[in-house]
Amino acid sequence: MTTPAEMPIHGNSDIVLIRQRVRTAAVEVGLSLVDQTKVVTAASELARNALVYAGGGQVRIEVVHNGVRRGLRLAFSDDGPGIPDLDQALTDGWTTGGGLGLGLSGSRRLMDEFELKSAPGEGTLVTVTKWAR
């Protein structure tokens, strides 16, 4: 797979395609089976968030390097309403979408690096990274 790759998030079938693409990239980067599973699960959560809360968006899948270490970075962006209170949004169980409220907080636990940028009216950007061990 050549990276960076951009994929749209417009419907439920895109979530399945993103999971498959992220899995392929995670294998290529050399992540362990458990880490592959964590990254694919986080990707599924974040892609669904973009769909449910912003009506869609896109993800950028990128192989990154830190010295000799390789990692997989995923950036989910949308032009939705944005998140007014970031701390609240990162609290386990907090949801405005009828879900379990684990998407953001759970994804943060599953990944090595997690960055959330959002403001009301300015969309949301979630960037997560997993490094190969």
Binding site: I15, V34, T41, E45, D92, G103, R109
Partner: protein, 126 residues
């Protein structure tokens, strides 16, 4: 949309998820199973996730919901065949599936259901 087939074996319904689940397929499976439980009078439901590579919060909630619906309809649900990486990821995600019974494989799932059934009958006739 792909539909997941529901198989009947005695008074147990067996569902083996072999596809990468789309959200609509998950919702359809809930309805199909609820209808099939009533239609067949099944006492147990086994959901085999041996082939499932990831369980995110949506699929996890589906498993818990199916277990709750089945219980309403007098059937117990057992999830079997969870991969180790999936279990590790689910716990870290924050989803421990408290209300869902699990067994390591299909054989143990069937044994568990027979055991539950047997002990309930024993209690009822006491």
């Amino acid at each position: 949309m792909d539909r997941v087939p529901v198989l009947k074996l005695g008074d147990i319904l067996i569902v083996s998820i072999q596809i990468d689940l789309q959200d609509q397929s998950v919702l359809a499976l809930q309805e199909d199973l609820a209808n099939k439980v009533v239609e067949t009078g099944a006492r147990g439901v086994i959901i085999d996730i041996t082939a499932v590579e990831i369980v995110d919060s949506f699929i996890g909630r589906m498993l818990a919901t199916i277990a709750a619906i089945s219980r309403m309809l007098d059937a117990e649900t057992v999830v079997v065949g969870m991969r180790p990486a999936v279990a590790i990821t689910l716990v870290e995600l924050g989803l421990s599936l408290g209300g869902v019974r699990t067994a390591l494989n299909l054989e143990k799932g069937v044994a568990l259901l027979n055991h539950i059934d047997g002990s309930e009958i024993a209690t009822a006739t006491r």
